[in-house]
């Protein structure tokens, strides 16, 4: 086996397994982070270091961390996984069916071009130029979407500033 494939493969699958099965939600998030590092490794192996770096920067450094924040701000203890077995087995059934069907398709399909690797030259400059030229509209829209998402997120979670409690809230001795 090729180590350039198996290493990311192992990391992705182990991480995803943790992310999917751990009932401690914080562990699940860390599992996700591990899995995403593996995905970045796969990107490297697929000849795209730039996206790999971006994956780590944005996903691991940004999204995973935001999730951890959300976990801490919401539930410290995860909700009990009650009514578990039926639900889990049903979900596993659906996912398994999906997996089986998908593999069937992949194995049977002919992707035409065989397995010769892409050696086409690309550079950051090319990516950048395409971003600002060919995909300019998508790029600008995405930036707008991001901006709106940030503003929207702030608006959604904003609450009225709670003023420091009044003097009356101080521990009083009156009942003593």
């Amino acid at each position: 086996m090729n180590i350039a494939f198996t290493l990311p493969f192992a990391v992705i699958v182990i991480g995803a397994f943790l992310a999917v099965t751990r009932s401690n939600i914080l562990h699940a998030v860390f599992g996700l982070a591990i899995s995403l590092v593996g995905v970045a490794g796969a990107f490297l192996a697929l000849g795209s270091p730039f996206t790999a770096v971006m994956e780590v920067l944005i996903y691991v450094g940004g999204i995973a961390v935001t999730m951890i924040f959300a976990v801490m701000l919401s539930s410290v203890s995860s909700p009990a996984e009650r009514g578990g077995f039926l639900r889990k087995s049903l979900a596993a059934l659906v996912a398994g069916l999906f997996l089986a069907g998908g593999s069937l398709i992949i194995v049977n399909a002919d992707f035409g071009a065989g397995n010769h690797l892409s050696t086409d030259a690309w550079s950051i400059q090319a990516v950048g130029r395409d971003l600002l030229d060919r995909f300019n509209l998508a790029f600008e829209s995405l930036s707008l979407v991001l901006l709106l998402a940030i503003v929207g997120a702030i608006v959604i979670v904003r609450r009225e500033p709670v003023l420091p409690a009044d003097q009356d809230d101080a521990p009083e001795e009156e009942a003593a």
């Binding site: 639900r87 998908g102 398709i105 049977n108 030229d133 509209l137």
Partner: protein, 619 residues
């Protein structure tokens, strides 16, 4: 320095100053003010240099932003006669006003922010003026509106200022919708954003009527023409330098400038031109009447702005680019002057009321009073001041091949302009404590304290003197401006000018009789007709009318629909509803509210479909 460098400095200096002042010097007012002032100076110098180096051919300095769909969207400068003159006017007047604000805002706690917004305003206006493309024009058209919103609402703790800012913003936005649709239609029919190419386009169809009308809607909003003019008097809630800026070289001028910019297009649309003439003439007369009774100095000037803008549009609509444009330039100068003078009075006497200012000894501010008189005379169109030449040209251009009604309207407005201007001047310079006139508010007594004497008066007086010189001398530069615009300057014969001079003189004379004489009642002839007076004072009840009209209209429509619904639909709907409800109750059982059930089902179905297609494909 090359044109592109000059142009870039001219545009970037205010932007840089804006950010530096707003972000960098948040707590350092002095540094913020200095930065903005320096940037204003740089811009003015560059704009003047550009003007001095002008070449007969339009020149483009641009940087591309996006190529998309075969269209090149770019930003930059278009240097031709129109933009160069207007750019210089904007930059110089802004510089004057910034200098003036040094004193005017000296003790305001938010002065750093104020100066930052001044810089933003200047930047937006300059970019708008020099714009080579529709895209840039529209972007900065809106930015001008935004900056004016910030400035009008500068004293944001004052509810009236906030309301005025909102009103200005929303009113102009109404016009902008029209403008936006017009621009899109324009782009759709020409497939270019380039203003030069646009102007060279010749339209065969009547579509141009629609386009220009829509553009004119935007101009009506921004240049405060009837029926969207009501925001402008309210915009007086901002600090006076802001009013000076709004009324002279920026904001309202943007509308007229847009008209001039697309003059070629407008010339192809007969119908639009007629509508423009009607609205402009009506606005000029209407707002003049309001100015005749206003006691608030800034309001008088505001109404006069509206009416002068009407004049400009009359000139442009009558087909004379030069006349309208010339009036735009001269008006910018003397209106800025008048506002700065008004600001000096208001700052000193802490009242807006003309009568109160006069009685408190307004004439003691000699330089300011001189500025007021000269600016007022220019506004009234007295020879040989700047306003005279441009107004003559407009009335002259109306005389050629247009219905008499427009000329009469223009003469009427001109007469009233002279009347109310000199009413204001006489009330300030020849106060008569015994007259019947009663001020709405008294000026606080300033004999005892002299805190106004603090600091140098130079920043107040220098711009006033400079603009006074401009108001005197600019009228004689008509030929060179015409040359820059590529138009021939025609000099109307004395016989043509006679009626205009006549009505102006008559207006002054009447003002003298009503206000100037030592025995004058100082109430004006209008007050002998109380109903008319109230009508004028209430701005022809337009604000109230709008409220009634739109609210009432909405209610009427709602009532109509209500009746229709009650009788027509309800019966049928009830029957359908009960059936639906029964069906719904059954179907709702499937709606478990369990998100994951939904997802699972949809995934399964999707997977089945994919499997079917996939297997089919691989077979």
């Amino acid at each position: 320095m090359s044109h592109s460098t000059l142009g870039l400095i001219c545009l970037l200096a205010p932007l840089t100053a804006f950010f530096t002042a707003l972000v960098g010097f948040r707590n350092n007012h002095r540094a913020a003010m200095a930065t903005v002032l320096l940037s204003g100076l740089a811009s003015a110098l560059c704009a003047l240099l550009l003007l001095a180096q002008h070449s007969p051919q339009p020149e483009l300095v641009t940087r591309s932003w996006i190529h998309a769909g075969g269209v090149d969207i770019y930003f930059g400068l278009l240097l031709d006669g129109k933009t160069l003159i207007m750019g210089a006017v904007v930059a110089v007047i802004t510089l004057c006003i910034q200098t003036y604000s040094l004193n005017y805002m000296a003790t305001d706690p938010g002065r750093g922010r104020f100066f930052a917004f001044l810089a933003l305003f200047e930047w937006a206006m300059l970019c708008f003026v020099y714009s080579p493309s529709l895209m840039q024009t529209f972007v900065f058209w809106e930015l001008v509106g935004l900056a004016s919103f910030f400035l009008i609402g500068f004293w944001y703790s004052k509810p009236s200022a906030v309301a005025a800012a909102k009103k200005a913003f929303i009113m102009t936005r109404i016009g902008d919708v029209g403008l936006f649709i017009g621009l899109i239609l324009l782009f759709q029919s020409t497939h270019t954003l380039d203003i030069l190419r646009l102007n060279a386009t010749h339209f065969e169809t009547t579509r141009i009527e629609l386009i220009t009308l829509l553009l004119f809607v935007g101009i009506v909003g921004k240049s405060a023409q009837f029926p969207l003019h009501t925001w402008l008097p309210d915009a007086m809630e901002g600090p006076t330098p802001v009013s000076a800026l709004l009324h002279s070289a920026t904001m309202v001028a943007a509308g007229v400038f847009l008209f001039a910019r697309f003059h070629n297009l407008f010339m192809q649309a007969e119908l639009t031109l007629t509508i423009v003439l009607c609205i402009a003439t009506f606005t000029a007369v209407l707002s003049s009447t309001m100015a005749m009774v206003a006691k608030d100095m800034k309001r008088v000037l505001a109404y006069s702005s509206i009416s002068q803008l009407g004049f400009m549009l009359m000139g442009l609509g009558a087909g004379s680019l030069f006349a309208g444009y010339f009036h735009l330039v001269t008006h910018a100068v003397f209106k800025a002057l008048l506002f700065l003078c008004a600001g000096a009075y208001i700052h000193h006497y802490e009242t807006n009321d003309i009568i109160a200012i006069g009685r408190a000894g307004g004439r003691k501010l000699r330089i300011v009073t001189a500025g007021l008189v000269i600016g007022g005379a220019a506004l009234a169109g007295l020879p040989p001041l700047a306003g005279f030449f441009s107004k003559e040209l407009i009335i002259g251009s109306l005389g050629h091949g247009h219905p008499r009604i427009f000329v009469i309207g223009a003469l009427l407005a001109s007469f009233m302009t002279a009347y109310y201007t000199f009413r204001m001047i006489f009330l300030v310079t020849r106060p008569n404590a015994d007259s019947e006139a009663s001020p709405d508010q008294e000026a606080p007594d300033h004999e005892a304290d002299d805190h106004h004497a603090e600091g140098s008066l130079l920043p107040t007086h220098a711009p006033i003197v400079l603009l006074t010189l401009g108001a005197i001398g600019l009228g004689f530069l008509g030929d060179s401006i015409a040359r820059l615009l590529g138009q021939s300057a025609h000099h109307p014969a004395l016989a043509e000018m006679a009626p205009a001079i006549g009505v102006a003189c008559f207006g002054v004379l009447l003002a003298w009789l009503d206000f100037g004489r030592s025995a004058a009642a100082q109430n004006g002839f209008v007050s002998r007709m109380p109903a008319v007076r109230r009508l004028f004072e209430q701005g022809w009840y337009l604000d109230a009318l709008y409220k009634k009209l739109f609210v009432g209209l909405a209610q009427a429509i709602a009532g109509l629909l209500f009746g229709l619904e009650n009788r027509g639909f309800d019966g049928g709907a009830d029957g359908i509803a009960s059936g639906t409800r029964a069906a719904g109750r059954t179907a709702a059982k499937a709606q478990t509210g369990r998100l994951q059930l939904y997802i699972g089902t949809s995934i399964l179905l999707f997977a089945a479909a994919a499997l079917y297609i996939g297997l089919g494909a691989s077979r």
